[in-house]
């Protein structure tokens, strides 16, 4: 009797006493692990220089100051770096999305001869299979030859190239999951390929597009290596390079660096929150057939 009752109940795979509280604790630990450095950075940005080195550290109680923010964005040119970072990140993301989406659509939908669909996709992916630094010197020489050193254009080109494989692979998956019938219906209804892409296909993969955009933006925003190699002047320097530049032979400007880094978090945070709805759907797209 007991056993039949048991069998009828949906079985839980793991039974943990106080399951929800255990889960909560694990979550809190994970949060602590992820956010502690951010918290530390934020507090440093508001502490006076003296308090930076207090021992024991003043974890929670200190006299807040905005002097580092003033120093970073008024005295020094971090505002300029921030602007450059924004322009470079947005422009390269936009370029990568436009080019990558078209490429991905072609790879997902057109049957190319000689199994080129598969081969091209793999070739595109293979450009990400070596460490980025391998290309740093060649890129430096190329940019020097075309006189693009110390320009935003150089960074936009390099970041676009770097983001493209990612965009192509992400979007190719989203397109492949979309039933062909819809585009075929659009074609029969009299629309062109491009029209069908814009009016029918893209609205349907918008969540995927949003998720891809966020990733590209984050990568471009945080990129350090190429920005360091390709830009030296204040006018073309991005925020990560600007921040790192405060580590010098003579001193390390912890306060200024933290202030700039804290500000650097904000745009991505806002963008990701705004797209959160799409982000979750985009990342799980194709995982569950709806």
């Amino acid at each position: 009797m007991l056993s039949t009752q048991k069998a009828q109940k949906p079985q839980k795979r793991f039974y943990v006493p106080f399951g929800s509280s255990v889960r909560l604790v694990i979550l809190l630990l994970a949060l602590l692990f992820a956010l502690a450095p951010v918290y530390w950075m934020l507090t440093i940005s508001f502490k006076t220089e003296g308090e930076h080195f207090a021992s024991p550290p003043s974890w929670f109680v200190f006299t807040p100051t905005l002097e580092h923010y003033y120093d970073a964005f008024v005295t020094r040119s971090f505002g300029q770096y921030l602007l450059t970072s924004a322009i470079v990140a947005v422009a390269s993301t936009a370029c990568a999305l436009v080019i990558g989406t078209l490429a991905a659509y072609a790879l997902a939908r057109f049957d190319l001869p000689l199994k080129l669909n598969r081969r091209l996709s793999l070739w595109i992916l293979s450009t990400r299979m070596f460490p980025a630094i391998v290309t740093a010197v060649p890129l430096f020489l190329m940019m020097r030859d075309v006189q693009l050193l110390n320009t935003r254009a150089a960074l936009i080109i390099v970041y676009t190239a770097f983001n493209l494989p990612f965009v192509v692979w992400m979007m190719r998956g989203f397109f492949a999951d979309l039933p062909r019938d819809l585009e075929e219906a659009a074609l029969v209804d009299g629309d062109s390929r491009l029209g069908a892409l814009v009016r029918v296909v893209l609205p349907l993969v918008a969540p995927g597009l949003a998720a891809t955009a966020v990733f590209c933006l984050i990568v471009s925003w945080n990129e350090f290596l190429f920005a360091l190699v390709l830009t030296q002047t204040d006018a073309a320097m991005t925020l990560p390079v600007g921040i790192a530049g405060r580590v010098t032979q003579y001193e390390i400007k912890w306060g200024v660096m933290s202030a700039a880094a804290s500000v650097a978090i904000v745009p991505i945070l806002v963008f990701a929150l705004a797209l959160q709805k799409y982000l979750v759907r985009g990342l799980s797209m194709g995982a569950v057939k709806g």
Binding site: E184, A185, L187, R199
Partner: protein, 339 residues
């Protein structure tokens, strides 16, 4: 609009899906491409729509070769098996899409969408999204999107196959009425012979990429060109009896079941009976052979009882056992048929 297939062949990889198809559709005809799955009927339709390219041969609309005309310039409308409604658009936007693409003024567009919606009785759904609609309603929307502009021809790819049986019969009737009303050339793909028989002005029966017969439903039923057509069309299926050098076929309604012996009647045993409501299917064994006969609804016979059969001799079809092709009819076959 006249449509013509001239020696059209389509191969995928090495496989020949449509084999040397020649077919001429006259203006205003309702043509049904009928056949089992994999017979090439959908591929034929898709080649006409421009969604597949013909490997060889010509496809003509009004005498103009359209093989190389891209889909969007062929001016055809298509209803897909999945309906292919645009999920992110409202019903009104879905129906209006072909007009929007043609840059019709907004007011014009709305008026025409309204008119078509009224015709198909879906006015109350115009503001909804496709996912909020039932299967039957989606089907109507797909139809509405096809007829909102006046295309050169309608192509329909098993449009009723996703509906339940009752709705299918209802929509079948409405489709027929609509086609009559609009008088539009229609090419309709199905594997359901009942749809083919009821809708078509002419039926093209296909098998393994080859056209078997292209004729009116009545001729297809009464004068099948070969054994495949005879077997595929009609429900229950035609009875076949293998003889020496000949295969004979007779439809269930041409076998009369008698409960008492009669001159020239053949003795048979009842295997089982199935009462369908308005008639009874009688499954019979005659020697080695199994036959199905149609009897009136009040026909009763127990399993294994002996009955007598009278075959309508002029309705017996003779097929070549090797090729399946029809042979000329002969008289007085009744007793010979079951030998």
């Amino acid at each position: 609009m006249g449509i013509e297939f001239r020696n059209v062949t389509k191969t995928f990889g090495g496989a020949c899906v449509v084999d040397d198809l020649s077919l001429e559709v006259r203006d205003g005809e309702f043509i049904v491409l009928l056949g089992p799955s994999g017979c090439g009927k959908t591929t034929t339709l898709r080649m006409l729509a421009g969604l597949e390219t013909a490997t060889s041969g010509d496809i003509l609309i009004n005498g103009e070769r359209i093989n190389d005309v891209p889909t969007q310039h062929r001016d055809l409308a298509m209803v897909f098996q999945s309906y292919a409604l645009y999920p992110h658009m409202t019903i009104a936007e879905n129906i209006g899409y072909p007009l929007r693409v043609r840059k019709l003024a907004k007011a014009d567009r709305a008026a025409r969408v309204q008119r078509v919606a009224a015709m198909l009785e879906i006015e109350s759904l115009l503001e909804r999204k496709p996912r909020q609609l039932s299967g039957g309603e989606r089907q109507r929307v797909a139809l509405a999107r096809a007829i909102v502009r006046e295309p050169r021809a309608y192509l329909m790819d098993e449009p009723l196959s996703n509906l339940d049986a009752r709705l299918r019969v209802q929509m079948r009737g409405e489709l027929k009425r609509l086609q009559h009303q609009l008088g539009m050339t229609t090419i309709y793909v199905t594997h359901d012979q009942a749809e083919a028989m009821t809708l078509a002005s002419r039926v093209a029966v296909m098998k393994k990429g080859r056209l078997q017969q292209f004729d009116t439903p009545l001729n297809i039923y009464n004068h099948p060109a070969n054994r495949f057509v005879a077997e595929f069309v009609g429900s229950p299926s035609m009875n076949f009896i293998e003889g020496e050098g000949v295969t004979k076929g007779i439809r269930p309604e041409h076998i009369q079941v008698l409960t008492a012996p009669e001159d020239g009647a053949i003795e048979a045993r009842v295997y089982v009976t199935e009462l369908m409501g308005n008639e009874t299917f009688v499954f019979l064994s005659v020697g080695e052979n199994r036959l199905i006969a149609r009897a009136p609804a009040d026909f009763r016979a127990d399993v294994d009882t002996t009955v007598w059969l009278r075959l309508a001799t002029d309705k017996i079809h003779r097929f070549d056992p090797a090729t399946g092709k029809i042979l000329p009819q002969r008289r007085n076959d009744a007793t010979e048929a079951t030998k």
